[in-house]
Amino acid sequence: MNHSRSRRNPTREPDFPTAKPPSPGGSSGGGAGAAMRLIVPLQGVVQGRGGLILGSVIPAALYYFFQLYLKRCRSAKPNSNPPSPSSSSAQLAELSRSSSRSNLSSRGSVGPVRVSARANSIAKPNASPYYIGLERASEDPYDRFDNPDGIMQLGLSENRLSLDLIETWILENLERSMIGGADGNLNISGIATYQPLDGMMEMKIAVAGFMSQVMGTTVSFDPSRLVLTSGATPAIETLCFCLADQGNAFLVPTPYYPGFDRDMKWRTGVELIPVHCRSSDNFALSVTALDQAFNQARKRGQRVRGILISNPSNPIGNMLNKETLYSLLDFAREKNIHIISDEIFAGSTYGSEEFVSMAEILESEDFDKDRVHIIYGLSKDLSLPGFRVGVIYSFNTSVLAAAKS
């Protein structure tokens, strides 16, 4: 057994020769002769002084190679290797193309070029009823005169009730606003050249004023804390990129807007953890449920970075009262996470309850402002989804800086 070890321990005597079968003493027990021959040298290695070294090097090496293999397997697509004509075809380029190309096509088929795995998963047609329904309704829309048998769209939250008011305003005022009056600042030629990426200052001021009006005039919004985006969809996605890394998670009370699954997860790699609300509570959010979900996530090894709430909530339509907002804030502070408050329907309240925005709560607090971020947009309250105006409102300067970029 000391074939390679003999130089190390000259005093040792080979008690039993290596290749001779009948020497039990290892784990071999009683095996066949041939097996013994195999096992005995192995046994020699195993029991030798080199046991620990080999015993650590070999498994570590195997483990490492195993990881490498898994990594390669995961990242390498099963490409069929194209026959490689390599540089010879480049030299042929000087001749007329047709001859070289016909050679290639006869040489054998090349594997189709692959798109990324995430493109594949995104491109798959969505089987959720939400999307199927939207598609069907858009293919066969109901019209009282033209198509009375069509599908009536009750699945898209688009507000056409007041669209006529908007139309009238636009007819009267668009010319002035786009062409510009005496001051050429806002006229269309002035805006054709490069402007700040997160929105013109005038727009931010206007939107901040609108948000104050809509949310009950008790809160004032600071235009310098706004980042404008093309719609609320990128606003939520950008916030996700800013607040969470890949593999992190957000707690989202259910039921929630189906689009969140797409907006928050597709490109960001972030997970959504549902926090269930029950009809017995009127689907109101309870902090205990949040706590439970948080702990479960922690057990699973998922790091929760924030809570996403909708206020008024979509699809229920509940509004969160001050108490709940305060306790949410406490919860977030305790767990050191963020709160994203999607207040896109803030101006579309119609009951007797008063709408309380997160911004209002924050006005009375001196700290914790860095934790709360508000999403807004003009798609719902101003019936202008086609205009693509979305807002991120945040007190956190890092988030603002990253979102702006």
Partner: protein, 533 residues
């Protein structure tokens, strides 16, 4: 039997332990001997494998934890003032201090990353812009590829026609009326706009290629177009080969949110900064060695910042290379309509059009920011024939949709064929004129420019003016130009050029009267730093 061996070897093999004890003292022996017992025992292999594996695993876990959780510093709570919150709040200070909420690591890296001279220069100009009358000491902008030469044409058209468009649009109830466009639309753009853009692209690229509108995805600007393609063609950790020098914002658009790497493929002045297949091959192999899977090549044609056009030969050999390695090609053809030389512009669309085998590999990025002088209208185009890419890109376009009124306005502008033709022609003439003047001006100062046939800029060789032939020397010169001469040019290092001393100067933000001013300022600086060469 096996147990006895350790004991028998204990006495004799003291000096030759595997632990490498060598000649040690008695006390060490006591430690080593039991260890040796373990080592040589039957359990040697088992323990020897379990222990290192466990250690290795724990080490990995430790690194993983360590990297993802920056420990936030504790923050002291301020006083509680609200009465109605006092009950729950008073418990909190007792519980312990709360930490500030952390943003994600990617947000942190984005926030820290805007130090490149390219962006610093842009910022300086926006703070102190040159104006002939009101601010003659301001910083002249030569670092932004924006075309103001033909802006007046666009402006006049808008002044005349926007009125009609608005008036006619408001009354009707068709799809282009204000009522029609205010609602939710397809996220990848109105069909009418796709048709109009396809027509415009045919006109601009002056070839007999027709662009198929159903293969277009519209985005809010070319930056999201590039980013979406990056998401569609590569997974996190994959890489793109990009010939240098390249447009500085590729570092953002291709990498920030996608997790994709860029492998630069150096081009040299000796080759006129043309792309060589051997350099591509070399870079590809290097990428493979580093374990990066290359998913595609990103080329710009006309190139930014050099201004070269790719000839047909190069395009074909690129396609061959891509086929051989089974990768994609993204062709950024933003300046296709801004060619001003005598060279012929060949678009990748020819490949998409004609060659059936490789159509799925080639994707074009385009936009109206350069050729139509409308950067802030934010109209970008992805053109591809790959069904998978189109399907994914359509869905991803929801994150960067063009605003509906903008779409309508652009539709009517592009539909005015006569205007567009006149515009393209006039624009080219003006570009040509400006380019010639500017390059001549620089030549008088002894600064040669690389011959270029497209784009809004010239690639100037200022190697004679830098003190030391290195990036540091180049940045010194850039600083001097920015702070003393007050002109903002883009240094080659921001574009990842491997040869120091090259600068990109955009001339399209100037009027002809400004050229002498610029030359004068450059001369002042160049006189102070002519190095003997």
């Amino acid at each position: 039997m096996t147990r006895s061996r350790p004991s028998e070897s204990d006495e004799d093999s003291g000096p030759t332990t595997t632990g490498g004890g060598g000649g040690r003292g008695r006390t060490e022996m006591r430690v080593i001997v039991p260890l040796q017992g373990v080592v040589q025992g039957r359990g040697g292999l088992v323990l020897g494998s379990v222990i290192p594996c466990a250690l290795f695993y724990l080490l990995q876990l430790y690194f993983k934890r360590h990297r993802s959780e920056p420990t936030p510093p504790p923050q002291k709570l301020t006083e509680v003032s609200e009465l109605n919150r006092s009950l729950s709040r008073t418990h909190l200070p007792a519980r312990g201090s709360s930490a500030p909420a952390c943003v994600s690591t990617r947000a942190n890296s984005i926030v820290k990353s805007s130090d490149s001279p390219f962006y610093v220069g842009l910022k300086r100009v926006s703070e102190d812009p040159y104006d002939e009358l009101s601010n003659p000491e301001g910083v002249i902008q030569l670092g932004l590829a924006e075309n103001k030469l033909s802006l007046d044409l666009a402006r006049d058209w808008l002044a005349e026609n926007a009125k009609d468009w608005i008036l006619s649009g408001g009354g009707s109830s068709g799809p282009l009326s204000m009522g029609g466009i205010a609602n939710y639309q397809a996220s990848d753009g109105l069909v009418e706009l796709k048709v109009a853009v396809a027509g415009f692209m045919s006109q601009v690229m002056e070839r007999s290629i027709s662009f198929n509108p159903s293969q277009i995805v519209l985005t809010a600007g070319a930056a999201p177009a590039i980013e979406i393609l990056s998401f569609c063609l590569a997974d996190t950790g994959n890489a793109f080969l990009v010939p240098t020098p390249y447009y500085p914002s590729f570092d953002r658009d291709l990498k920030w949110r996608t997790g994709v790497e860029i492998i630069p493929v150096p081009c040299r002045s000796a080759d006129n900064f043309n792309l060589s297949i051997s350099a591509l091959d070399l870079a590809f192999d290097q990428g493979k060695k580093r374990g990066l899977k290359v998913r595609g090549i990103v080329i710009s044609n006309p190139s930014n910042p050099v201004g070269n056009l790719l000839n047909r030969e190069t395009i074909y050999s690129l396609v061959d290379f891509a086929r051989e390695k089974n990768i994609h090609i993204i062709s950024n053809e933003m300046f296709a309509g801004s060619t001003h030389g005598s060279e012929e512009f060949v678009s990748m669309a020819e490949i998409i059009d004609s060659e059936d085998l490789d159509r799925d590999r080639v994707h074009i990025v385009y936009g109206l920011s350069k050729d139509l002088c409308l950067p802030r209208f934010k109209v970008g185009v992805i053109y591809s024939s790959n069904e998978n890419v189109l399907a994914a890109a359509k869905k991803l376009s929801r994150f960067s949709s063009i605003s509906a009124p903008t779409q309508c306005l652009v539709i009517s502008m592009l539909s005015d064929i006569r205007f567009i033709q006149k515009f393209i022609q006039t624009n080219r003439e003006r570009l040509q004129r400006m380019y010639t003047k500017f390059v001549a001006g620089l030549k008088q100062l002894g600064i040669e420019c690389m011959r270029s046939s497209g784009g809004f800029y010239c690639w100037a060789d200022m190697r004679g003016l830098i003190r030391s032939y290195s990036e540091k020397g180049e940045l010194e010169l850039w600083n001097k130009l920015l702070n003393i001469a007050k002109i903002n040019v883009t240094p080659g290092s921001s574009c990842h050029c491997i040869e120091p001393g090259w600068f990109r100067c955009c001339f399209t933000t100037l009027t002809e009267k400004d050229i002498p001013v610029v030359m004068e300022r450059i001369r002042k600086v160049s006189e102070t730093c002519i190095s003997p060469r």
